[in-house]
C-alpha cells in the first residue's frame, strides 16, 4: 500500500465516521506526512511498531471511546 | 587575590592540563539553548569557570572554534540537533593566548520519548600532540608503505588505513569487510584477517601472504606484523602490513642460484667421473701396452730369425726333392707370419706400433681393398662399399694399418652375421660443430668411415667392454680379442675418434672419425717398386746386437749383391766406419741396443757423413726414433720381423733416393 492511499483511506473513513479513532502507521516519518495525519485527525505511529509507540494512541483512543459512550 | 596571581594560577593550570592532554566536558540543553561546561572547558574557551558551570548561551560552543572550522562544526551540530545520535569531530580552537589547538569533540544526543533530541553532551580532548604524532605516523606509513588495520573479533569489518587499501589495490576506505580483504589473498594461503567467529585465536600476527591486487591483479607478497590483544570475550588485532615482494623475489633468485649451483656441481662431478673413467681406461691401456710392447720386442727378434731362416731354406730348396718337406716349411713360415701379425696387432693396440702416416685417399684405399674384402668376407655376405668419391677429403693415416683396421672390422661384421646379410663400408665427409659435438667426437673436420652390419648386435654390457684388450665374444680359439682394441689404438694414435652403436638384434655400426688432412699438396705415395738387387759398389753397414738376426740380415743383403760390413754394437760400428777402406752408403741398424742406441749411432755417423742413408730395424722402436707414436719424417724404419723382399725393397728405395753420384 502506498502512503498516499493510506492517507486517502483515512481521510475517507474520517468523513464517514468522524468520531472513530484512527492512526497512520508508517515508516515514512516526513514532517509532511505527520502534518497530514494530524490534519485528518488521525494518530501517527512510526514504524517499527513497538508497544511503547502504540501505547499513547491506544490509551487516547480508549479514552475517547469511553467518553463518547458515556 | 591580586590579578597577577590569578593569571599565574591559570597558567599553571593550563600547563598541567596541557601536559595531561586537556579535556573538558559540555552539556548542551537543546530545549533551553543553554550550554553548561566544566572548568577545563572554560579554560580552553576562556570562560569564567563558575559562569560556564551555571550555563552560558549555547552559541558560545562555536565562539572559540577556529573560523575555518566553524561552518563545518555548525553543520555537524545541526545534525545532532536534527536527530543524529553520535558526534565525533576533530577541529581547531583558538585559545585566549592565541595558540591553535586541535581538539577532538566526542559526544552524543539524548532523545525524549518522541525521539526528539533534548541534550547534547560531550568531551573535548586536546589532541594537538596526537595530531602531530598522527601526522608523523601518517607520513612514516605512506613513506614506508606501511598499512595499518584494527580488527575486533566477531565483527564483519576491519578498520584500515588508506595505505592498507593501496597495498591491496582496494578502493581507499576507513573500514573494509573481512571478506573483501581475504578475497585478495591467493587461494590456499591463510586469510589475512581471521574469518569472523571462526573461534580460533591466532597465535601470532607474523605472516607472509601472497595477494593478487584487486585493481591491477598484480601478484605481490605482503607481510603482516602486529599484536593480539585479548579482551574479556575475545580478542582484538592491531597490526600493519607492508609489501615484501622485492625481498621475496631476491630470496627466490638466491634460491634459484643455490639450486643451479647444486646442478652445476652435479655436472662438474659427472664430468669429473667421466674424466676419471677415461683416465682409468688410459692407464689400463698403458699398462697392457707396456707389457705387450716388452714381449713384442723379444718376440719380433725371434720371429725374424725363424722367418728369415725358413725363408732362406725355402729359397734354396729344390722343390722336386721333397715336396712334403717344402710344405712343412711353408706351414712353418705361415705360422711364423701369423705370429708376426699378432705381434703387430699387440703393438698397434698398445699404440707402440710405429705408424707411417701419410695423406691418404680413403676412397681409393677402399676401392683397392674391394677384392681382398670380397675374398675375406665372401660367401653369404654381400659387401657394399660406398665411398663419397670424388670430393672425399684426404686423411693423414698409415694406409697399411688403416687397411688392417677396416679388414678387422669387416671380419667382425661377418662374424656377427652367421646367416648372411649385407655389410656396408662407407666413407663420407663429416663436420662436427662446436654446438652439437657429442662427447665422443670433438668439433672438427673428419672423414667418417663406417662399417655397418645387420648382425646380432651387442648388449649394453658388451658394448661397454669392446675396447678392452683380450675381450672377445668369439669362441675360444676363434679370435685373439685384440681386434677392436687394436682398431681403437690405431684410431687414437692417428688423432681420430671411434664410436660404436649397437643393440641386441639390430646390428652394429662402427664409425671411425679420422681428421681431415688439409695439406693437399702431398700426392699419394706411389706404389713401391721393388728393385731387389744391389751391387758390390754399394756398401751397407749392418749393426745388430742379436747375432742370429744380424747373420740373417747380412745373409739377405749379401745375397742381393751388396757389400756388407757388420758390427754387434755401436762402438764397433763407429770404428769400422772410420776405417779408410770403407765408404758406407747405408747404415742399417737395430734401434734398441745396449750401450749405444741405433739413434745415437746414426747421429754420430751423420756428423761424419751428413748424406748417409740410415735404415732402422726394430720390433720395439718406441723411444729412440718415434715421437708421439709417429715416425720422424726423416727416418726410415723396417719393422721386425721383416722378409727378404721387404728388406730388399726398403734398402733399394733408400739407396735410390740418394742424390745421384756423378
Amino acid at each position: 500500500m502506498t502512503e498516499k492511499d493510506g492517507l486517502e483511506l483515512a481521510s475517507e473513513l474520517r468523513a464517514l465516521r468522524p468520531e472513530m479513532p484512527l492512526a497512520i502507521i508508517t515508516a515514512n516519518i516526513q514532517d509532511e506526512i505527520v502534518a497530514r495525519a494530524r490534519a485528518i485527525g488521525a494518530g501517527f505511529v512510526a514504524k517499527p511498531l513497538t508497544p511503547d509507540g502504540l501505547e499513547p494512541f491506544l490509551s487516547g483512543a480508549a479514552l475517547r471511546l469511553r467518553s463518547s459512550k458515556a | 587575590m591580586p590579578e597577577i596571581d590569578d593569571n599565574a594560577e591559570a597558567e599553571r593550570t593550563r600547563s598541567a592540563l596541557g601536559a595531561a592532554g586537556a579535556s573538558g566536558t559540555w552539556d548542551w540543553h537543546i530545549d533551553s539553548g543553554i550550554l553548561h561546561a566544566d572548568a577545563q572547558f572554560a579554560e580552553l574557551y576562556d570562560l569564567d569557570p563558575q559562569q560556564a558551570q551555571a550555563g552560558v548561551p549555547a552559541e558560545t560552543f562555536f565562539s572559540a572554534i577556529h573560523p575555518d572550522d566553524r561552518a563545518r562544526m555548525r553543520i555537524a551540530v545541526a545534525g545532532i540537533l536534527g536527530g543524529a545520535e553520535l558526534f565525533s569531530k576533530e577541529f581547531r580552537i583558538v585559545t585566549p593566548d592565541g595558540a591553535t589547538l586541535w581538539v577532538h569533540g566526542r559526544g552524543r544526543s539524548f532523545l525524549d520519548a518522541n525521539d526528539e533530541p533534548i541534550r547534547f553532551t560531550g568531551l573535548l580532548v586536546d589532541v594537538t600532540e596526537r595530531k602531530r604524532t598522527e601526522e608523523r605516523l601518517r607520513i612514516a606509513q605512506s613513506a614506508g608503505g606501511v598499512g595499518t588495520f584494527e580488527y575486533t573479533d566477531g565483527f564483519a569489518t576491519v578498520a584500515v588505513s588508506d595505505e592498507f587499501c593501496r597495498l591491496l589495490g582496494l578502493h581507499p576506505a576507513t573500514s573494509l569487510p573481512v571478506r573483501t580483504i581475504n578475497n585478495v589473498v591467493q587461494p590456499g594461503d591463510a586469510p589475512l584477517i581471521p574469518q569472523p567467529r571462526s573461534g580460533i585465536i591466532p597465535d601470532t600476527l607474523d605472516g607472509v601472504f601472497r595477494v593478487s591486487r584487486s585493481n591491477d591483479g598484480a601478484e605481490r607478497w605482503i607481510a603482516r606484523r602486529g599484536e593480539i590483544i585479548r579482551e574479556r570475550s575475545g580478542y582484538r588485532l592491531i597490526g600493519v602490513i607492508y609489501d615484501v615482494t622485492q625481498t621475496k623475489e631476491q630470496e627466490a633468485r638466491l634460491l634459484e642460484l643455490n639450486e643451479t649451483l647444486e646442478m652445476r656441481v652435479e655436472q662438474e662431478l659427472t664430468e669429473r667421473r667421466r674424466t676419471e673413467e677415461a683416465l682409468r681406461q688410459a692407464q689400463k691401456m698403458e699398462a697392457v701396452g707396456q707389457l705387450t710392447g716388452g714381449i713384442a720386442h723379444d718376440f719380433n727378434n725371434l720371429l725374424t730369425i725363424i722367418i728369415g731362416n725358413v725363408d732362406a731354406v725355402l729359397r734354396r730348396f729344390d722343390v722336386s726333392s721333397d715336396p712334403r718337406a717344402r710344405r712343412s716349411l711353408e706351414n712353418a713360415l705361415q705360422g711364423a707370419n701369423r705370429a708376426a701379425s699378432l705381434t703387430q696387432r699387440l703393438l698397434a693396440f698398445s699404440r707402440r706400433q710405429p705408424l707411417d702416416p701419410r695423406p691418404t685417399d680413403v676412397a681409393r684405399l677402399l676401392a683397392g681393398m674391394s677384392d681382398l674384402l670380397t675374398r675375406s668376407i665372401g660367401g653369404a655376405i654381400a659387401v657394399q662399399i660406398d665411398a663419397e668419391a670424388p670430393g672425399l677429403w684426404r686423411v693423414e693415416a698409415d694406409p697399411h694399418q688403416l687397411e688392417n683396421v677396416i679388414l678387422n672390422l669387416a671380419v667382425n661384421g661377418r662374424d656377427a652375421m652367421p646367416d648372411g646379410g649385407t655389410l656396408t663400408i662407407a666413407a663420407h665427409n663429416h663436420v662436427v660443430r662446436d654446438e652439437d659435438a657429442p662427447a665422443s667426437v670433438p668439433a672438427g673436420y673428419y672423414v667418417c668411415i663406417s662399417v655397418t652390419d645387420a648382425g646380432v648386435g651387442m648388449s649394453a654390457e658388451t658394448l661397454a667392454r669392446v675396447f678392452d684388450p683380450f675381450f672377445t665374444t668369439k669362441e675360444v680359439g676363434k679370435g685373439t680379442g685384440l681386434g677392436l682394441s687394436m682398431v681403437y689404438g690405431f684410431v687414437k694414435q692417428s688423432g681420430g675418434h671411434i664410436t660404436i652403436e649397437s643393440a641386441e638384434g639390430s646390428g652394429t655400426v662402427v664409425r671411425l672419425f679420422l681428421p681431415r688432412n688439409l695439406d693437399n699438396e702431398h700426392a699419394p705415395a706411389a706404389p713401391m717398386v721393388v728393385a731387389a738387387q744391389g751391387s758390390p759398389s754399394e756398401t751397407i753397414l749392418v749393426v745388430e746386437d742379436d747375432d742370429d738376426v744380424r747373420a740373417y740380415t747380412v745373409g739377405i743383403l749379401r745375397e742381393l749383391g751388396y757389400r756388407v760390413a757388420e758390427a754387434h754394437d755401436g762402438a764397433t760400428a763407429v770404428r769400422l766406419f772410420d776405417r779408410d777402406e770403407f765408404s758406407v752408403d747405408l747404415l742399417l741398424t737395430d734401434v734398441v741396443m745396449p750401450a749405444m742406441s741405433g739413434r745415437e749411432l746414426a747421429d754420430i755417423l751423420w756428423d761424419r757423413q751428413p748424406e748417409l742413408s740410415v735404415l732402422f730395424v726394430s720390433g720395439y722402436p718406441r723411444d729412440a726414433i718415434v715421437s708421439d707414436g709417429r715416425l720422424d719424417p726423416a727416418v726410415d724404419l723396417i719393422p721386425k720381423p721383416f722378409t727378404y723382399l721387404g728388406l730388399a725393397g726398403k734398402v733399394r728405395e733408400l739407396l735410390d733416393r740418394r742424390p745421384s753420384r756423378t
Binding site: M1, T2, E3, K4, T26, A27, N28, I29, Q30, D31, E32, I33, A46, K47, P48, T50 | F62, P67, R70, A71, R72, R74, I75, A76, A78, G79, G82, G83, A84, E85, L86, S88, L111, D115, G154, F155, A156, T157, L170, H171, A173, T174, S175, L176, P177, R179, T180, N183, P196, R197, S214
Partner: protein, 212 residues
C-alpha cells in the same frame, strides 16, 4: 566523469553527511527496536560515483550475490534508493529481527517480507530525514526485494545508465556477534543531483548563517 554541476563542495559534503548521519542514527534506533540488541551504525562516508564504478566497488567488496530492498522516491529530486546486503547476511538479518525464535524453514518463508519491512524502516529513516532537513517532501513507493550482482542492481549496461550517478554510502551494521553489513545507495540523475546540491546550499545557509 562527474559533471561539475553535481560535484559537492566540502561544506555540501559535510552537510549531506550530517543529514544522512541523522537518517542513519534514526535507522539504527529503529533497528535496535527491531533487533533488541546493541547496533552501531558507523557515520557514513559518502561518495558520488558512476553506476559502473558503484557496481565495481560493491563487487570488489562483496563476493557473494547481493540482496537489495528498493524504494523509488519522487519529489523535487527523484531517484531510487537501495539497501544492499550480501545475500549470505539476509537470513541472519531476518533471524535477528524476528527474535531468533523461528525455525529455519519459517525464516526462509518470511524472508522476503521481513527484509522488505526492515528495508522500509531503514530507507525511510534516511529519505524522510533528508526530506525533513531539506524542508521538502518526497513520495515513496512500497519496498521491493531484489537479488543479483552489482551490475544488475545498478542496471549497468541498460539504456541511460551513463546518465545515472550513485550517491553511495557504506554503512557498517556492526551488530555484535552477527556478521551483518550493508550499503545504502541512491541512484539519481544529474538534474536531481543538481537540485539536491541547491537544497544543500539552502540548508547550509540556514544552519551556518554568517559563519559560511
Amino acid at each position: 566523469m562527474i559533471p561539475a554541476t553535481v560535484t559537492l563542495g566540502d561544506l555540501e559534503r559535510d552537510a549531506l553527511t550530517e543529514i544522512l548521519n541523522i537518517g542513519v542514527s534514526r535507522a539504527a534506533a529503529n533497528l535496535r527496536k527491531m533487533i533488541d540488541e546493541q547496533v552501531t551504525l558507523s557515520v557514513p562516508s559518502i561518495e558520488v560515483l558512476s553506476r559502473r564504478r558503484a557496481a565495481r566497488m560493491i563487487s570488489e567488496r562483496e563476493i557473494a550475490d547481493l540482496i537489495a530492498v528498493r524504494q523509488d522516491f519522487d519529489g523535487p529530486f527523484s531517484g531510487r534508493a537501495l539497501l544492499i546486503f550480501p545475500e549470505t547476511n539476509s537470513l541472519d538479518l531476518v533471524r535477528a529481527v524476528t527474535g531468533g525464535e523461528l525455525s529455519n524453514d519459517q525464516v526462509v518463508e518470511i524472508e522476503r517480507e521481513a527484509l522488505g519491512e526492515t528495508g522500509n524502516v531503514i530507507l525511510n529513516s534516511c529519505l524522510a530525514t533528508m526530506a525533513n532537513m531539506l524542508k521538502r517532501s518526497l513520495t515513496m513507493t512500497i519496498p521491493e526485494v531484489l537479488r543479483g550482482n552489482g551490475d544488475m542492481l545498478f542496471e549497468v549496461g541498460e539504456e541511460g545508465a551513463a546518465e545515472g550517478l550513485v550517491l553511495f554510502l557504506y554503512i557498517d551494521f556492526a551488530v555484535r556477534k552477527r556478521d551483518i553489513r550493508g550499503y545504502i545507495a541512491m541512484i539519481m540523475g544529474i538534474p536531481s543531483l543538481e537540485v539536491l546540491k541547491e537544497l544543500l546550499d539552502e540548508f547550509i545557509e540556514r544552519v551556518v548563517g554568517q559563519d559560511a
